[in-house]
Amino acid sequence: MAAVFSDFRDAHMTGSGPTLAAAITPAAPPEDPGRLRSFYYSTPNSANAACDLRYALLQDKARGVKLPKQEGNTWVDIFCAFWKTAGEIVKLEESPSEGSWTKVFEAWKEVANLLIRGYSTGSLQAWTVPCLYAVGKYLRAFAINADAETSQDSLTFGDGFLDDLVSNGEKNAKLEDAARTINRMFTLCLSDRAPMDESRKWGIYNTTNLLFKTYFRLNQVGLSKNLLRAIDASSGDLPSLEGFPKSHIVTFKYYVGVISFLEENYTEAEEHLTEALAMCHKDAYKNRELILTYLVPCHLVTTRTLPSRQLLAPFPRLESLFRPLCQCIKQGDLVGFDTAMSAGADEFVKRRIYLPLEKGRELTLRNLFRKVFIAGGYEASKSGQPPIRRTRVPVAEFVAALRIGTRAKEKSRADFDEVECLLSSLIYKTLMRGYIARDRGIVVLSKADAFPGTGV
C-alpha cells in the first residue's frame, strides 16, 4: 500500500517533521519511482477520494493515526489536494499531451494554501513545519515549469485598473504567484509568537532562502531587502543563528552576501560569504563553487589580492573564469586586461560579477606604474646612505608605459591629461603615494612605500 500513508503515520508517531515532509513530497524518490502513482491509484476516483483518504490517514486501525478532529480534517483536506496534484503529475507522465504543468502548479498551490491555512488557524503544530519547506520548494519548481510551457508571445494585459501595460510581462506569472504564496509562508514563520521550542520561527531561514531564490530568478533582488528588514526588525525574538540547521544558515549567509555584493557593499559581502564558505559542507561542491564565484571578486576589491592556484584548483571552471584576468593584473598588462575583460564580459555579466572585476583595472594600472617607477632606477647615492629610488618621475614616462601595445593612430590612445587623471585617481585611492606637480610635469612619489602593500 502507498508509502505516503505509512510515512504520514510514522511521522506522527515519532513527531518527525522531515518524515512528514517526505509524505507530502510530490516527486517520487529514485528508490521508489512508483510512489506517486501508487498514491494516486490508491483511491479510484475523485468522488471517493476524500472518504478514502480520510480512512487511510486517520481511521484505518492498522495504518491510520488518531488525531484531534480539526487537525485531522486539515490533513485530510491537504491530502485531497495533494491527491489531485498527484493525478495531474501522473497524467503528465503517462500522456504528456494531455497534462500540463500549469495544472500541476494550480493543484499544488491549493495544497500550499490549505497548509498555510492550517497553520494560521492553529490546527497544525510547529513540528510539522518541514512540510512548508517541501511544499514551498515544489511550488517554486512547478511554477518555473509552468512558466516555461506557457507560450511566451501571448502577452496579456494586467488585471486591475492599471494605467500602463503589464510591467514585467507575464513570462514569470506563475513564479510571481508562487513568490506571493511563499511570502505568506515566510510571514507565517516570522510572526509566530509561540514559545521558542514549539515555534514556527525555526522555519524562518528556510522560507527566507526559498524566497531569495525566487526573487533572484525573477530578477527582483530588491525585494529581498524587505525580507532582511523584516527579519532584522524581529531579530530580538529570533534564536541565535547557531541554533538553526547549518544547511539553512549557509544558504542564508550566501544570499545575504550576494545581496550586499550586488549593492557594492563588498566588505559586508565578504564577511557573509566567508562565513558561508567556512560553514559549507565539504562535499557540497556546487555550493562552494557558487560562494567562491562571489568571494573571489569581493576579495579582489576589499584586499586587492588575487586567488591562489591552490584555492581554485578544485574548481576548474572558476580557474578558467578568473585566471586570465589575474595574470594580466599581476603583470600590469593593461591591454591584456581589457581584452580578457571583454572576452569574458558576457559570462561575467551573467554571473553579476562584471562590475567588481572591472575594478581590477586599477590594480593592473598600479602594477604597470609600479614597473615604471622601478625601471626609473636610483638616485645617485650619497656616500654611505642606502640608495634611494628616483622619486621624481616625469608624467611622460607613465604616458609611454600606457601606450605600450596600442597603435599610434588609435583614438583611444591615452593623452597626457588622461594619464594624469588616472594617476590622480590612483593617488586618491592610496594605491600610490605622492603628488602630481602639474606645472613641472612630474609626479613626486613618496620615498618610502610609494606603492603601498607591494614592497616598493
Partner: protein
C-alpha cells in the same frame, strides 16, 4: 560676461580676479546647448545652475504673503508652505492654478474673519481641491449609465491624497482603500486597529485551550466571524487573497467611442466606460495635436496630463502597436527634457516591455538612457541587468556605446574621460547627465585636491571638468569652498589644492547621498 559675478562682490581681495575674468575670459568657452529648464533637483543647492535656467525659478514665497504685509497665523503659513512642497504637486494642475486657488482660499478666510476658525492642518491643499472638483465634473457629465453610478460611488469613497498617489506610483497592486479626505501628514491608519494585528495566543492556536476567559471567548467568536463560511472539512476553499480584489477588472479589452481629442487624466477606479475612451483613430489625431501644442505652448503640466490619459486609453483597449511605442517614447522624451524623472521612469519601464515585442521604435536610444538613468540613481543591480540586456549589435550603437563608456569611466574614476563624454552626448542623454554631472564634479575635485600639489590653474579645472568657462568653474568651486581657496598668481587664477582639506570630500558625500525621484520603483 556683462555683469560682475555675484560671488566676487563680497570682498575686495577678489577684485583682481574679477577684472581678470571680465577682460580675458573668452577662449575656454565650449558652447553647450542650453538644456536645463526645469532643474528642480539642483536648484536648491547649486545656484550656478539656477542662473543658467531659461525661466527664473518661481519665487519661493506665494503672493498673498508678500503683497499684504500683515502677520499671518502660523497654521496658515504652514498651509501655504505645504501647498508648494514638490511632492504634493499634482501633474495636470499648474502652479498658477494652484496659486490662484490658494489665494482665493486665504482671501476668503481673511475676509470672513475665519482665519482662526479653519483647521488649516486638515484642510485639503488647493491642488487637491482643484483635482476633486475636476473629478466631480467628469463624473457628473451626462450619459447616466450604470457605470457612472458606480464611479460616483467610487469617487465618494476614494479621494486620494497626494501622499497616497505617490504610493500608488510605486505599486498598483492594492485596490483603493482609504476613505477620508484628510491631508497626508494627518493620515493615521484608522482602518487597521490594533486588534486586527494581534494574533491569537499560541496556546489557543494549538488547541490546548484550557483557559476560557472572557477575552478568549470574544476572540474566538471574532475569529469565527472572519473565517471563511465555506471552510470546513471536505470543501477546499481558495484563499481570498489570491483573487483579484476588483472582480470587474479582468474584463477583456473595450473599444472606445469617445471622439474628443483632448481628455483630462483620471485614474480609473472602476471598469473603463467606452463612452469616455477614445479609439485608435482618434488617439492618432490626439498625438498630432499634442505634438503641435507642445511645440507651441510648452506647457508641461498640460502635456503630461494629456499623455497620461492617452496612455490609459491605449491600455484599456489593449492597443500594443508601433503607435503605442511612439506615444511612450515621445512622453519619455518630454519628461526628460523637463527633468520629470518619475514620469520618465514609468515610460522607460513600459518601453522596455514594448521593445521586447519588437514593435519598432528606438530601442537603442532608450537603452542608452536607461543606463544613464541607473548611473544617476546608482542602482548597481539594475546596471548589471541593463548590461545583460545588451546584444552585441546594441553595444556597437553610438548612443549605447557612449552610455557604457560613461559608466566605465565613472567606475574607474576616470573623470577626464567622463567629462569628455559629457560634452559629446548623443540624443537627449545630456538631460540625464545633467542630473549627476555636478555630483561627479565634486568627486573629481576631491580627487584633484588630493593628488595635485600645491595648486592647479583654474583653466585646468575648467577643461577637465567640462565647464563652459573659467568663471563658471570658479563659481562652482566657491559654491562649496571659501574664497581664499582661489588665488591669483603669475597672472592666472589658481585653485590651492593643498589647502582644500576635507571641503570637497564633505560636499561630495553630501551630494552623493540623495537621489530623490518621485515615483521611482
Amino acid at each position: 560676461m556683462t555683469s560682475i559675478p555675484t560671488w566676487s562682490i563680497a570682498g575686495p581681495s577678489t577684485g583682481t580676479v574679477v577684472s581678470h575674468y571680465a577682460g580675458t575670459a573668452p577662449p575656454a568657452y565650449i558652447p553647450v546647448q542650453a538644456r536645463r529648464s526645469f532643474g528642480l533637483h539642483v536648484e536648491s543647492n547649486t545656484p550656478v545652475t539656477a542662473q543658467n535656467t531659461a525661466t527664473p525659478p518661481p519665487s519661493p514665497k506665494p503672493q498673498p504673503l508678500t503683497k499684504t504685509r500683515m502677520e499671518w497665523p502660523e497654521p496658515v503659513r504652514k498651509y501655504v508652505q505645504r501647498s508648494f512642497v514638490p511632492e504634493y504637486q499634482i501633474p495636470g494642475i499648474s502652479r498658477q492654478e494652484m496659486e490662484t486657488r490658494l489665494k482665493q482660499v486665504i482671501t476668503e478666510a481673511a475676509e470672513s474673519n475665519s482665519l482662526g476658525d479653519i483647521d488649516w492642518e486638515t484642510l485639503p491643499l488647493p491642488q487637491d481641491m482643484i483635482q476633486n472638483e475636476r473629478r466631480k465634473k467628469i463624473l457628473t457629465t451626462p450619459s447616466v449609465s450604470s457605470w457612472d453610478v458606480r464611479a460616483e460611488v467610487a469617487s465618494q469613497t476614494f479621494e486620494p491624497t497626494s501622499d497616497e498617489r505617490s504610493k500608488k506610483r510605486k505599486s498598483t497592486d492594492y485596490p483603493p482603500m482609504e476613505t477620508a479626505d484628510s491631508p497626508p501628514w494627518r493620515k493615521t491608519n484608522s482602518r487597521n486597529h490594533m486588534e486586527d494585528r494581534i494574533t491569537f495566543p499560541a496556546a489557543e492556536k494549538r488547541q490546548r485551550t484550557d483557559i476560557s476567559s472572557k477575552s478568549n471567548a470574544a476572540l474566538e467568536s471574532r475569529r469565527k466571524r472572519f473565517e471563511d463560511p465555506r471552510s470546513g472539512y471536505g470543501s477546499p476553499q481558495t484563499s481570498s487573497r489570491d483573487e483579484s480584489p476588483l472582480p470587474n477588472a479582468t474584463q477583456g479589452p473595450i473599444v472606445g467611442r469617445c471622439q474628443d481629442l483632448e481628455k483630462n487624466y483620471f485614474r480609473l477606479t472602476s471598469a473603463p466606460n467606452p463612452d469616455t475612451v477614445r479609439p485608435l483613430t482618434v488617439l492618432e489625431k490626439t498625438l498630432d495635436l499634442l505634438k503641435k501644442k507642445w511645440r507651441r505652448e510648452n506647457n508641461y503640466g498640460y502635456i503630461c496630463d494629456q499623455f497620461k490619459s492617452l496612455r490609459q486609453d491605449l491600455t484599456v483597449q489593449h492597443i500594443r502597436t508601433e503607435f503605442t511605442v511612439n506615444v511612450y517614447e515621445i512622453h519619455a522624451r518630454i519628461a526628460l527634457e523637463k527633468g520629470d524623472l518619475g514620469e520618465y521612469n514609468q515610460c522607460q519601464t513600459q518601453l522596455r516591455v514594448l521593445y521586447a515585442q519588437q514593435l519598432g521604435g528606438h530601442p537603442r536610444e532608450f537603452k542608452a538612457y536607461r543606463i544613464l538613468y541607473f548611473i544617476y540613481t546608482r542602482n548597481q543591480t539594475a546596471i548589471n541587468d541593463a548590461l545583460a540586456d545588451l546584444t552585441p549589435a546594441d553595444k556597437s550603437d553610438p548612443a549605447v556605446k557612449h552610455a557604457l563608456e560613461v559608466r566605465s569611466a565613472l567606475a574607474l574614476g576616470n573623470y577626464h574621460r567622463f567629462f569628455q563624454l559629457y560634452l559629446d552626448t548623443p540624443n537627449m542623454g545630456a538631460y540625464l547627465m545633467d542630473m549627476f554631472v555636478d555630483r561627479e564634479r565634486l568627486s573629481a575635485l576631491t580627487c584633484i585636491c588630493k593628488a595635485y600639489k600645491p595648486d592647479v590653474k583654474i583653466r585646468f579645472i575648467t577643461e577637465e571638468l567640462g565647464f563652459e568657462s573659467d568663471e563658471q568653474s570658479a563659481r562652482f568651486i566657491l559654491d562649496h569652498a571659501p574664497e581664499d581657496l582661489l588665488q591669483e598668481k603669475d597672472g592666472s587664477v589658481r585653485l590651492l589644492t593643498s589647502k582644500a582639506g576635507q571641503i570637497f570630500v564633505l560636499a561630495k558625500s553630501e551630494a552623493h547621498k540623495i537621489v530623490d525621484i518621485k515615483g521611482q520603483i
